[in-house]
């Protein structure tokens, strides 16, 4: 094929259907929910225990408690030491781990399907009878303390933590880092973690998700054998504490002497996962800064050469997580880049996205959906989200249709409702001497320089 034939992009072939895998919903004799997917493909399986016990459940002043409790699950059970647990699971080729977020803790194991009968009791032991042995717990805590120290020197983490602190300045659960602060971590003891698990991990506030090359009947029998006799009454985790909105703009430079780049974060408190216009909002975000071809990236990267990349995001949680535009730029263009970010935010709220932009975004979102559902782990994680956020059963089955229905008017309305240019909080981690003067006169509100103390 040469010359003239090549001029236009080729047309697509006939579209091929895609369905989210069928999810069987079951309950064990103790009432614990089970979700099963018999995925076709390679002979592997992921089993994931979803516990509705994330950081939101940590009491005030105890930030990081849920994360530490999750870490501690890997530290051994009443029967097996941390080392024995590792030998047993890795001896059958399994990968395993616990992960804690704001709204849940998940404990997952992935292995060859034929080894699930050996892996399942080990994972059940981690969740049902963790030892929280003193020396192991101390180690987990020392690791988390060191990780907190690392965050304070990493520009992106530092910007995210400061932005949370300032954007939720008047209180609320999300003002602190997910993993807690050095003082809250340092004061947490093994007994606190054990207490958290006893108060929050229970079969009626948990679910077991099994995805893989396994017959559903077999999987259910295995689940019943290792989880069906788990009995513990726990209370549901309360809603996250809401924070009041900030009613004005402000700008903050977190002084990092000698920085050769500014890490920028501009945004404010966003929305919770339960928001009614979730789909229009996600589409709107794709247009603003959610893809390579987004307004922000084409402007800041491809037009101005200010940055390697820029993204906007909403991080919906059970409560209103942050909305933020995030990027890193050279010192000398910091003011110009912030100005451009604010201009794009104002523009999308003012005029909304164009019809063609919304069409591209919905097509993108519907198209990449199956791309992100290729592994047993990816499918299990999606199902875990449904459980954590209480999404309707048909959520993922109807996902692509609902995405395609989003109109430009709805996306514009979502922008007006959920992005508030007058309340933008700008955080810059960088060399204050080099960049603070550039922020004057940009209309960002009062500019404050902060020192990050070691």
């Amino acid at each position: 094929m040469r010359g003239d034939d090549r001029r236009a992009a080729p047309p697509p072939g006939p579209i091929r259907p895609y369905e989210f895998p069928a999810v069987a919903e079951e309950r064990l004799s103790n009432g614990m929910a089970v979700r099963l997917v018999s995925a076709i493909g390679l002979p592997v399986v992921t089993a994931m225990v979803v516990l509705r016990a994330g950081e939101t459940a940590a009491p005030v002043g105890r930030g990081g408690l849920a994360v530490l409790a999750g870490d501690g699950l890997e530290g051994g059970t009443t029967r097996l030491s941390s080392r024995e647990l590792a030998m047993a699971l890795e001896g059958i080729g399994a990968s395993y781990g616990a992960m804690t977020g704001w709204d849940s803790t998940t404990v997952a194991v992935s292995c060859l399907a034929e080894h699930l009968p050996e892996a399942m009791p080990l994972v059940a032991g981690m969740v049902r009878s963790p030892a929280f042995e003193e020396a192991e717990f101390d180690r987990c805590r020392a690791q988390r303390l060191a990780a907190a120290a690392q965050r304070r020197m990493d520009p992106a983490s530092l910007a995210a933590d400061w932005h949370a602190r300032l954007a939720y300045a008047d209180g609320g659960t999300y003002a602190r880092p997910l993993g807690g602060t050095e003082s809250s971590i340092g004061s947490t003891e093994a007994g606190d973690a054990r207490g958290f698990v006893e108060a929050r991990y229970g079969p009626l506030e948990a679910a077991l998700v099994i995805v893989g090359d396994l017959d559903s009947g077999e999987a259910l029998t295995l689940a019943e054998a290792h989880w069906g006799d788990w009995h513990r009454e726990v209370n549901p985790v309360p809603e996250p504490e809401a924070a009041p909105r900030l009613r004005s703009r402000s700008a903050h430079v977190v002084h990092r002497p000698g920085s050769v780049q500014s890490r920028i974060r501009v945004g404010h408190m966003g929305v919770s996962r339960g928001v009614g216009d979730y789909f229009p909002l996600i589409v709107l975000n794709l247009v603003l800064g959610g893809t390579f071809s987004s307004r922000l990236n084409l402007g800041l990267r491809e037009r101005h050469g200010f940055t390697y990349g820029v993204r906007s995001s909403f991080a919906p949680r059970r409560g209103p997580g942050p909305f933020a535009v995030s990027t890193a730029v050279a010192n000398d263009v910091t003011g110009a880049a912030v100005k451009e970010i604010v201009r794009e935010i104002e523009a999308v709220v003012e005029a909304g996205p164009a019809g063609e932009e919304v069409e591209s975004a919905t097509s993108y979102m519907a198209g990449v959906f199956p791309l992100r559902l290729q592994t047993t782990g990816q499918i299990a994680s999606r199902i875990a989200r449904m459980i954590v956020f209480g999404l309707p059963e048909d959520h993922y089955r109807g996902y692509r249709d609902r995405v395609r229905e989003v109109t430009a008017a709805e996306a514009a309305e979502a922008a007006r409702r959920h992005i508030r240019p007058d309340e933008l909080c700008t955080v810059i981690v960088g060399d204050a001497d080099a960049v603070a003067p550039q922020l004057e006169g940009l209309g960002l509100g009062p500019v404050t320089v902060h020192e990050e103390k070691a």
């Binding site: 090549r6 072939g13 050469g305 791309l371």
Partner: protein, 420 residues
């Protein structure tokens, strides 16, 4: 077992087809056999800048049209530059296969008409910011520059990093783009893999249709410098860095046989025994004993004269750097006594992880391109799942004793300094 077909077009383009209709998604993946190893003196980082320019349009594709076309049909695209190769890939709904082939072929054949000085200047700024973001403004960000320049002499193609120096990034010209394109971006220096939901006969026909008219060129010039290098450094080469880092950290690297040799496989087993998972030696002896916050290692699978082994241990704020290094090198020095149990566990873990990784077709496509490029045989992917299994205890121990000793090591230590 992955179904694999291989073909070669008349212009030398190697075509790998791996049909799998599980999901209506197709992956297109190209490997060009050019990377940072091919860069001329004074042009470090150029292979990577060139990769950026490949997204700036071609004869029939406008600037940024590549991402625009792919994203608007629900696909993803990207590219990466590495020591020995540069890859470009798209993953998209399978009925848009032609689109990806059209885009990739247009830039393989007709990139130069779209190049301008203004685009180069823009991408130069983007790449400079990439360097700042990943290296210059990041704690420990310059570790690989330091390790590579210690471990490989100035004459070796791996002496410098993929990102290159700011000075060299600043020096790149439009003439360099033309010369690099002519020397390396040729169908006879590339592999294309189409993986996922496709009919192999149809896919081959389409590849032929879009790529068949691109003329081949002469064999690319030899890699500059001297690739052959002994697997010994004579003594432990070292460098201490006092920097604004939060925690003490030690990097220890060794020269090892290249990925393309059979001598690589025992190394992979050694590396998993030492550094993968919570039953590995580094975790058991360093992390579990609280000598380190974290400790891992891996092999970097390179092909030009040598590959390298890299171990990293990060301490707690109060861990003395000598003790951290001591604990790490003690574990490396002792790897000659790895046991059958440890090896069995490492192999079974690696097999399972490799299999799980194949679930993602973009990864599967990349592996197929890799095997086709480095071994001239994409089907080797299937054998490699079993290849680790045949490594013996004696081979593992011999490899560890032969390459992980103090006479074949470069060590870079980061010591937290107060704020300047």
């Amino acid at each position: 077992m992955i179904t694999v077909q291989e073909h070669v077009l008349d212009n030398g383009l190697r075509v790998v087809l791996a049909p799998d209709a599980t999901t209506p998604v197709v992956g297109v993946n190209l490997w060009y056999r050019v990377g940072s190893r091919n860069e001329a003196p004074g042009r470090t980082g150029f292979a990577h800048i060139f990769e950026h320019m490949m997204f700036q349009g071609s004869a029939n594709v406008p600037r940024n049209g590549h991402f625009h076309h792919i994203e608007r049909v629900g696909g993803t695209a990207n590219a990466t530059t590495w020591f020995d190769r540069t890859n470009y890939y798209e993953t998209l709904p399978s009925h848009h296969l032609d689109l990806a082939l059209w885009l990739e072929s247009d830039r393989m054949g007709w990139m130069l008409p779209a190049m301008t000085a203004e685009k180069l200047e823009n991408q130069r700024q983007v790449v400079m910011n990439e360097r700042r973001e990943r290296y210059d403004n990041q704690p420990y960000g310059d570790w690989d520059e330091r390790i590579q320049s210690l471990l490989f002499p100035a004459s070796h193609p791996y002496h410098h990093t993929v990102i290159g120096s700011m000075e060299d990034i600043a020096a790149a010209t439009l003439d360099d783009i033309h010369a690099f394109f002519a020397a390396y971006y040729l169908p006879n220096n590339a592999v294309i893999t189409v993986c996922g939901d496709c009919d192999p006969g149809h896919a081959l026909d389409r590849v032929e249709r879009y790529f068949g008219a691109i003329p081949p060129g002469p064999d690319p010039p030899p890699v500059p410098g001297t690739a052959r290098i002994p697997f010994t450094t004579g003594e432990t080469l070292r460098g201490d860095v006092h920097a604004a880092v939060p925690l003490p950290r030690v990097y220890a690297a060794a020269r090892v046989p290249p990925f393309t040799t059979d001598a690589f496989y025992p190394g992979e087993v050694v590396s998993h025994c030492l550094g993968t998972g919570r039953s590995s030696r580094l975790y058991d002896r360093l992390v579990r004993q609280r000598a380190a916050k974290s400790a891992t290692c891996h092999l970097v699978p390179l092909t030009t004269g040598a590959a390298f082994f890299l171990a990293v241990a990060t301490g707690f704020p109060d861990t003395p750097i000598d003790r951290l290094e001591g604990a790490l090198v003690e574990a490396l020095d002792a790897a000659g006594d790895l046991t059958g149990d440890e090896i069995e566990r490492a192999v079974v873990g690696a097999e399972t992880r490799n299999l799980r990784a194949l679930q993602r077709l973009e990864w599967r496509a990349d592996l197929l391109s890799m095997y086709a490029t480095h071994f001239g045989d994409a089907r080797r992917l299937n054998d490699d799942l079993r290849r680790l299994r045949s490594v013996t205890v004696e081979q593992v121990r011999e490899w560890a004793r032969g390459y992980l000793h103090g006479g074949n090591r470069a060590v870079v230590r980061y010591l937290p300094a107060g704020p300047p």
